[in-house]
């Protein structure tokens, strides 16, 4: 397995990654991240998913 850099193109080409953004698209838009590069949107979306699921 070769590590590759996560780029907007990688995300755009991979439905599994795009779907993470889609799940949080409304919230990302509300807080002004809707126009950010896909890599930034994806990173924040994964942070939301991490935090949202914890019972703490």
């Amino acid at each position: 397995m070769i590590a590759s850099e996560l780029t907007d193109e990688v995300i755009r080409a991979e439905p599994v990654l795009m779907r993470v953004i889609d799940r949080h698209r409304q919230l990302l838009g509300e807080i002004g991240w809707g126009d950010a590069p896909l890599t930034d949107q994806y990173n924040l979306a994964t942070t939301f998913e991490l935090t949202g699921g914890r019972d703490d």
Partner: protein
């Protein structure tokens, strides 16, 4: 990661079709492994829906996720308390401030080469930062915010709103923001300054801190002490075979202690 499998019976059909694609990739051994520019690692496992993680196993052992309560707000707090000279030296304040905070993160190159923008006044030593970090250490920041809200918010929504208040463009002044700003003005002030030139910078700094902590401290120690144990990361948490969770929790707490953060359990 190649050792990882997913059990039959995972309720894939409960989710959107893309989730099925993700599970199918794991079944076929079609692994991806991407690193972003802030050091975060993205894999099939990190990306898998949380509800399906209990179906993952390695050599017959189910995997369990070990995480730290309030870890994302904690990373922001540590960022605010950091010695700005620990990175490439372009941050606002230096060693003196860090000592005032009582050693939080001393000697730790949090920023992995890039710190907050020039001119940002770190929240080092402020009383409200101490209180904020204390609540994060106790895992009770969200409960604290909830207690000071007039309206009751569903817990998941509250946690998401706290994060978005920290990371958004500062155009929001909702009830959660007002509680945070009223109780932790130095932390919110630090966040506003970091985001002034580019609103994404605080999230990026927190991600650098997270990856630095996980990949320079926690994971190397786990690999050194238990070289045969399977380890996968999900950003700021660790996935290990069942039976190892207490050990991993103790390692994470111990590595946080080296940064001056004493998690209460």
């Amino acid at each position: 990661m190649r050792q990882c499998r997913i059990r039959e019976g995972a309720p894939v059909s409960d989710f959107a079709p893309e989730v099925g694609v993700a599970v199918d990739k794991i079944r076929r051994g079609d692994w991806f492994f991407h690193v972003n520019r802030y050091g975060r690692i993205h894999t099939n496992i990190a990306n898998l829906k949380r509800e399906l993680r209990p179906y993952l196993f390695v050599e017959g052992q189910p995997l369990v996720n070990v995480d730290i309560a309030n870890s994302q707000p904690l990373l922001v707090g540590i960022t605010a308390a950091q010695d700005g000279d620990a990175g490439d030296g372009d941050a606002g304040q230096g060693k003196e401030g860090s000592q005032a905070q009582g050693g939080m993160g001393q000697g730790w190159n949090l920023y992995v080469g890039r710190g907050p923008p020039k001119g940002v006044v770190l929240a080092i030593g402020s009383q409200d930062l101490r209180r904020y970090l204390g609540l994060c250490e106790a895992g009770s920041l969200y409960r604290y915010v909830a207690k000071h809200l007039s309206d009751r918010l569903e817990y998941g929504t509250l946690k998401q709103r706290v994060l978005t208040c920290l990371y958004d463009k500062d155009s929001h002044r909702n009830a959660v923001y007002r509680v945070l700003e009223g109780h932790f003005p130095a932390v919110l002030g630090f966040a506003r300054q970091v985001k002034r030139a580019d609103y994404r910078q605080l999230a990026q700094l927190a991600q650098r801190a997270e990856s630095r902590f996980m990949y320079s401290q926690v994971v190397p120690r786990l690999m050194r002490e238990r070289p045969s144990m399977f380890v996968a990361t999900i950003h700021d948490s660790v996935l290990v075979p069942r039976g190892n969770e207490e050990y991993v929790r103790e390692v994470m707490a111990s590595e946080f202690r080296r940064l001056g953060v004493c998690l209460q359990r």
